[in-house]
Amino acid sequence: MASIPTQASVVVIGAGIVGNSLVHHLARLGWRDIVQVDKGPLPNPGGSTGHASNFIFPVDHSREITDLTLDSVRQYKELGVFTQSGGFEIARTEERMQELRRRMSSAQAWGIESHLVSPEEVVEKVPYVDAGVIVGAFWTPSVGVVDSVGAGTQMRESAQQLGALTVSPNTEVTGIDVEDGRIARVHTDRGTIATDKVLVACGVWSPRIAAMAGAAIPLTPAVHQMISVGPVPDLAAIPGEISFPIIRDMDTFCYERQHGSDLEIGSYAHRAILHEPDEIPSIDAAKLSPTEMPFTADDFDPQLEQALELMPDVLSNPDVEIRYAINGLLSLTPDGSPILGESPQVKGLWSAAAVWVKEGPGVGRAVAEWMTNGLPEVDVQGADIARFHSHQRTREHVRARTSEAFIKTYGIVHPGEQYESDRNVRLSPMHSRHQELGAEFFEAGGWERPQWYASNAHLLEEFGDRVMDRTAEWDSRWWSPIINAEHLALRERAGIVDLSSFVIFDVAGPRALDAVQGIVVAQMDVPVGRVVYTPVLDEAGGFRSDLTIIRLAHDRFRVVTGAAHGMVDVKWFADRLPDSGAAIADLTSSFTTIGIWGPRARDIVAAVTTADMSNEGFRFGTARTIEVGSLEVLASRISYVGDLGWELYVPMESGAKLWDVLREAGAGHGLVPVGLGVYGTTGRIEKGYRAFGAELDSERTVVEVGMVRPKVKTQDFVGRAAHLRHREEEPKTVLCSLTVDDHTSSTGEKRYMLGGEPIVDQEGQPLVDGHGRRSYVTSAGSAPSLGKHVLMAFLPPAEAVVGNRLQVVYLEERYPVTVASVDATPLFDPANDRIRS
């Protein structure tokens, strides 16, 4: 057996599309002494790339995935392995047509040419389809097919030509050594490689490899069935491998792809069939390849019937035979996103897993850039491996969520849709109270959070038309007018919110100040008891987070951040601590947070404490410990809903007590329990508060989102140089708030946008900002205090003028909108009198 190098700058495990594009991009970025191993032979080592369908539909509702796909297509084209075919996503039902109209929004928002077409137009291009079974279709001319194995070979060879790469096929990784929390070496059946970086790019086997290092890559191998039928005489008559557009039969969760004289039919309609990474057969034991498992025909039979309906003439021919049928393995993750980046569990263990062929080269580039200087050009924060809370890494959670989500691959997924499986994992101390109040629970990071309370239904009567009810089923799915009623009650009286899902961690130690000072934008050398809201930037000045930090002591800072992104924040801070003198303690499960806001909040809190809660005695932006009955409560006067009040922190076990005390004291003041529907959307949107992941991401600068402070601190912090530069430059885009002027659709029904819709000018032309991005709605929601539906969107600077009249496209109809704010000035209470009252 050939031996392998004894040392490497990085060991890339896997030679599928992801591993191959990674070695290519790493080499291109200057990496040398890369070693790539795969237990299979080249060029097809037997993973999921080898049996992939290899077609690419660029439009996805996720901007991140679309960006990665578009970058991948560009790379495939450069490699000469992309064949454009065009593609139809066809609808058999009216419900699906609405989804295709929604898909048009995404296509326009991401700048991809697509059209809605009639059944006849489908038949014109794909004559073997029966127009009678379809209602319409979504046509994307730029759909194509790639040779992913060929692309991978070229990319691997380009790295070899640079002298950067040693490839070792037929080499099995047998162990990974971790020393002091860092990767030390990789053992293989051909020898041991000393290295401080391992990049796991081996698809369905990734969990098994990560486990060797004591870490998790939470994905599961799952079956995607496909068959190939042929020879179809009608297809054989036409020269060329790919002569017809690809069909995605969305309502039956199937696709049909012509390949020479054969048709490949793939399905996502069957039951979720999950496997264990350790039980995938070895190469020797596998019939075809390890990821081409024996076909289970029963699961596929319903799809045959549906395919026959769609393509009756070609498929009913008894000479057209099923010549190849597999249960192909692919990787599924609990939230559907890829798993990229450095593991929060082991330094130097990188993941590039759960990636489809359509994203492979884009991911390769992004992760290579990330490994090189921490700055992937495409924002891939939604795929960060650090995002998982501990329960989300478990086998049980992965299996539950992927079983539930498999059918959603081609499904119609509402943006507010909640998972049903593996719920009730994290319950706040007030949970039983919420249940008694008829809370509708939404989940975040495993926490069950009231979105609204049925017990507040009586408020609908009180506020009447002001609750801005929605009649269209889609607009009102996963929504209730009670949210808006709770909002109005908070604004008029007071609301109490369970915020137990906050991720809370302390940075403490003699060098704690230096640590946080170097990580965040805002000045942290502030008096003890100050509360600071601050952006967190990367070296390029893009957003990595926005969060709140309380200075608890000269040597202790409490960081409070959201459930969705909090685990990434923990790693971001941990990675940037000095070698000694500061440490992080995750206190998420130690403290619950109860928010109380509204004009009566002071009266209510003052009634249960002897502390001075007056405006003079307790200024906005400060925090201190107060006594509420027998409880010591850390009270922090800030607000994400833009009203007078406090976040109150107590140990988890005392949360229910505090909740009860406040509810009781608030009874006479009209205090209502308020759900996250208010906290997360209505409260913030009428105040123009930005949300990470929607408005804030690594592409946009502090200037562009309108969060510039008068001064920049003199102390260095991550992204300072870039931030200073951004302040000197004209912004390329401007975050604006817009109000919808008229909601009436062509049928006379009032429609309410949910986010993701394109913003166009009066003539219907798309707006393109200085980053080359089209304008689209980043957040949408009711602003009940204003009686308006508010949209946030980045506009080209020339269009960012208050009063500018534009249009929003919702389900293929245009509605007039007006720019209402071009900076962080709130639409509601613009002077912030309420917060500071």
């Binding site: 039928v229 024996p294 039979d301 026959l308 498929l315």
Partner: protein, 269 residues
């Protein structure tokens, strides 16, 4: 002419085989299942013969409920109905028991008016390779038997029509590969034939075929208790085959060494 084809669900052995913990069975974990190539040819022959003689094909297997997969696969390539002789423990049945169980079905169906002119089995099972069921079944049914048959033909000139019966042929032409060439037999019916692969090309299922299979009648009967039992005590894996690659040389210098090897293995004389 109605034909009964007996098949056996066996592991698809394209990959490496391992044994399970008991040592009496192979590990089915990652294996797909199939029927032997002999049986695939038997099904194909039966479908062709039945098609040419306006008859029907019944597929039979003895096994667990899992074997329905193989029955449906045979139905998808043209058989008309199927019988599952069901048992929880097919491993407990030896060749005599299996022959008896098949014969019981043939007799029962005959009583119900369904007579099989031909019963086809694979020449030998792909997993156990006993070569026994065909002969034992013929003995049990008191019928003539041929083994190692690759082709069956309705030979117009030799076939005698049974005027007393249903008008079907009373004999059939059977081809087998013998040591000196093709042996052709005229086989009186009813008979049992053990089919060997090589005479016909089994077809793949079509989509309409697969859908027809889904709806085709499938009779389930309980297997009779095994009387003789299965004498298998244990399985042993063969010694691992060495796969050492010897590089003979590079370029023209390798030619003499290559010639030596070719002579050694008898390709060149």
């Amino acid at each position: 002419m109605d034909i009964l084809v007996c098949i056996k669900r066996v592991p698809d052995i394209s990959g490496q085989i391992t044994l399970d913990a008991s040592g009496r069975d192979i590990d089915h974990g990652a294996l797909g299942h199939t029927i032997s190539a002999h049986e695939e040819c038997a099904v194909e022959l039966a479908v062709q013969l039945a098609g040419a003689s306006d008859g029907e094909v019944t597929i039979l297997t003895l096994g667990t409920d899992d074997a329905v997969e193989q029955l449906r696969a045979a139905l998808a390539v043209g058989a008309n109905d199927a019988v599952l002789v069901e048992t929880e423990d097919p491993g407990a049945y030896g060749p005599e028991d299996i022959a008896y169980a098949i014969a019981e079905v043939v007799r029962t169906r005959a009583n119900d008016g369904q007579n099989y002119d031909l019963v086809l089995v694979g020449n030998d099972a792909a997993d156990t390779g006993d070569f026994q069921v065909g002969v034992r079944l013929a003995y049990e049914l008191d019928r003539p038997v041929l083994t190692g048959i690759t082709l069956l033909r309705l030979a117009e000139e030799t076939a005698e029509v049974d005027s007393a019966g249903d008008g079907g042929p009373t004999s059939i032409e059977a081809h087998g590969i013998g040591p000196a060439g093709t042996e052709i037999f005229n086989l009186p019916l009813p008979a049992v034939v053990a089919v060997q692969e090589g005479g016909v090309e089994p077809r793949y299922p079509s989509i309409p075929g697969r859908m027809k299979a889904k709806k085709a009648p499938l009779d389930e009967v309980d297997a009779p208790e095994p009387v003789h039992g299965n004498p298998r005590v244990a399985l042993e894996l063969p010694p691992e085959q060495s796969s050492t690659v010897t590089i003979l040389g590079e370029g023209p210098e390798a030619a003499p060494a290559l010639v030596d090897v070719l002579e050694e293995i008898g390709v060149l004389r």
